[in-house]
């Protein structure tokens, strides 16, 4: 398994174009935001500098902002699109390049699929971690350049609670990534084409977001507001609910949708997420074990 992971890592990291545009785009994008939107205008324009100085910088918020955005609903759905594309390339690429036939006889199919999931999850987490560090570093740079109040001091911080929050966000993102990767992998295994699985995976991502709106519209149209509660069966809501319970101490009300009353307790959301994860990952592995490799 370790060797399969090492091979997969080298392969995906070696796909420079895909990884640059679909994974490293996050920290690079964050760096661009810091330099071109936060630092440069402030260096050039006095009013911007004054406006900035009026608002103290909280590095803990900067550090967590990308994770919150990724795990938020519905914004996270769109932010995940480049990752979905990368996952589609990783799985469907093997069919399109005709390379499964080289690697399948060398390693168990389950190990190959798990290695892909682990490498993709690790790469995506790494990209988000770098993004988070770039954003926090950008805040520190702004504070230093323009004498903006910077905090909180480490002494004032409840370190354990803060780290628990960060750890939870990372876990939720990892689970989310694996779920999205499973969608993309399943689609790739059926379509066997990069373009088709890319479009379909993005479509599924949008559908998941749209399904909540659709449920809202249908429930309103049928005058059965409770219908919207079906959303609690979906993984995205439950991941948001887990985050909400742990960070905010209350369950996610799903943006205050009318008729939404079924806020599951933390344990139930965790179970639902685990069931989705197990079902999707297991389903992908079982499907791949039985699949004929003809390409």
């Amino acid at each position: 398994m370790r060797s399969a992971f090492a091979a997969e890592w080298r392969k995906l990291v070696g796909h420079h174009k895909a990884i640059a545009f679909l994974v490293w785009i996050y920290p690079i994008g964050a760096l661009m935001i810091v330099l071109l939107i936060q630092i440069l205008p402030a260096l050039l324009l006095e009013p911007v500098r004054e406006m900035m100085a009026a608002e103290p910088i909280d590095w803990t918020e900067d550090l967590l902002s990308v994770w919150n955005a990724m795990n938020g609903f519905p914004g996270g759905t769109f932010l995940r699109m480049p990752f979905i594309a990368f996952i589609a390339i990783a799985f469907a690429g093997e069919y399109q390049w005709g390379t499964w036939k080289n690697i399948v006889p060398r390693q168990s199919r389950v190990a190959l699929v798990l290695a892909k999931f682990l490498v993709l999850g690790t790469l995506i987490l790494l990209a988000l971690l770098l993004t988070s560090l770039v954003l926090a570093g950008g805040g520190a740079l702004r504070a230093a350049l323009f004498a903006i109040p910077f905090g909180p001091a480490l002494a004032d911080l409840e370190v354990a609670s803060f780290l628990r929050g960060v750890g939870l966000q990372v876990l939720v993102t990892f689970a989310n990534t694996l779920i999205v990767a499973s969608y993309a992998a399943l689609i790739a295994m059926y379509s066997r084409s990069i373009i088709a699985s890319l479009l379909l995976s993005v479509g599924v991502g949008i559908l998941e977001f749209a399904s909540s709106l659709l449920l809202l519209i249908v429930s309103q149209a049928l005058q059965r507001p409770n219908l919207v509660n079906i959303i609690v069966a979906l993984p995205t809501y439950n991941l948001d609910n887990v985050r909400s319970w742990v960070v905010e101490g209350v369950g996610s009300t799903f943006g205050g949708f009318p008729g939404f009353t079924a806020v599951p307790p933390l344990w139930l959301s965790v179970v639902i997420v685990l069931l989705w994860l197990g079902g999707l990952l297991g389903g992908t592995a079982v499907l791949f074990r039985r699949q004929d490799i003809n390409s």
């Binding site: 060797s3 091979a7 070696g14 005709g98 390379t99 036939k101 399948v104 060398r106 003809n294």
Partner: protein
């Protein structure tokens, strides 16, 4: 007293019978096991069907064959005959619809570790275009848990790719990819090497190199080679045994030398032609052409043929043995199979 004796005798007979049964079982089992160990490949009644209903295609039909260890086995067949499907089943890339595939006496489907003894180049080498040739080999070796940088360098040199290994595969020609594929097949130093059209896309010099390379693998390194090819001359030059597949069925199999010698054409210049023809016809296929008779027979039959003719006072002026080519044999075998299938239909 008699009863007791009879009972004792009866018990001894039963015990003796049981021991005999046990010995029989052990001997049979050990023999079968030893026999299957001597086979690198055994295909037993293997069939593969793709699709359902109208789209149903029987790619391989009740195919049975065995390849001994250390042999170079040529697998011949026209396009779409089922060669690649058979190879993919041997590598567990696709599952047979029925039948068993054993490698070194063990089922492919239940023993994924068996693949550590196998190296393969399947139907046109395909690699990650965005990586260099060397990186591709490194990734394949790591996937198979057999990474050794020195071995990769040695293999690259052996297939003539050492100086081009650090270029991206997207710039490689088909021939270069084939060479890289050959190196990839040998990464794990396999006992059994399965090669699907390994000389595709190579120039004539490259084809010669690869043929020598394959023979060396068998002769110097003792590897078993399963070579699928549509190049009959290649199979004739390289292989010890050959199997001809047509429409998913094995239509002929045997050693190349035997198959060829069994299908020679003996040309005889004789007089009188009629008497000679009357003598030979009951046993061999004979056609007359002026003073010449063309007899389809094995080369080993020539002395007997000549003796019969001399005994019947037929004058013999010339005897010419024309060895049939594998191409003629292949065409004849596939034509006979086609005719049989048409008649059956």
């Amino acid at each position: 007293m008699w009863n007791r004796l009879a009972k004792r005798n009866c018990n001894s007979v039963i015990v003796g019978w049981q021991i005999t049964q046990l010995l029989n079982y052990l001997i049979t089992h050990l023999l079968l096991s030893a026999m299957s160990q001597s086979f690198a490949i055994q295909l037993d009644n293997v069939s593969k069907t793709f699709g359902r209903g109208r789209k149903r295609v029987e790619a391989v039909r009740q195919l049975s064959l065995a390849v001994n260890t250390g042999q170079v086995f040529g697998f011949l067949g026209p396009n779409g005959a089922g060669k690649s499907s058979t190879i993919r089943m041997m590598l567990d890339l696709i599952r047979p619809s029925s039948g068993n595939i054993l490698l070194y006496g063990r089922s492919v489907q239940n023993n994924p570790a068996l693949m550590r003894r196998v190296g393969a180049l399947v139907e046109g080498a395909a690699f990650y275009d965005f990586l260099t040739g060397r990186k591709n080999l490194e990734i394949l070796a790591r996937t198979g848990d057999c990474y050794d940088a020195n071995r990769i360098q040695t293999l690259l040199a052996q297939v003539g790719m050492a100086d081009r290994a650090d270029r991206k595969v997207q710039g490689y020609s088909t021939g270069m990819k084939q060479r890289l594929g050959l190196a990839a097949a040998l990464l794990n130093d396999p006992d059994l090497v399965i090669l699907d059209e390994p000389t595709n896309g190579l120039d004539p010099a490259g084809i010669q190199d690869v043929r020598h390379f394959i023979r060396d693998l068998a002769e110097k390194q003792g590897k078993t080679i399963f070579l699928s090819s549509h190049l009959l001359s290649e199979v004739e030059q390289v292989c010890d045994q050959v199997g001809i597949i047509h429409n998913g069925r094995l239509v002929q199999t045997g050693s190349v030398a035997k198959l060829l010698s069994a299908q020679a054409i003996i040309r005889l210049e004789v007089a009188p032609v009629d008497r000679a023809m009357g003598l030979l016809l009951p046993r061999w296929g004979v056609t007359a052409n002026g003073r010449w008779l063309e007899v389809q027979a094995a080369r080993e039959d020539v002395p007997e043929m000549v003796q019969q003719l001399v005994a019947a006072e037929v004058q013999i002026f010339q005897v010419v043995v024309q060895q049939q080519s594998l191409e003629a044999l292949f065409l004849a075998a596939t034509a006979v199979a086609s005719a049989a299938e048409t008649a059956h239909a």
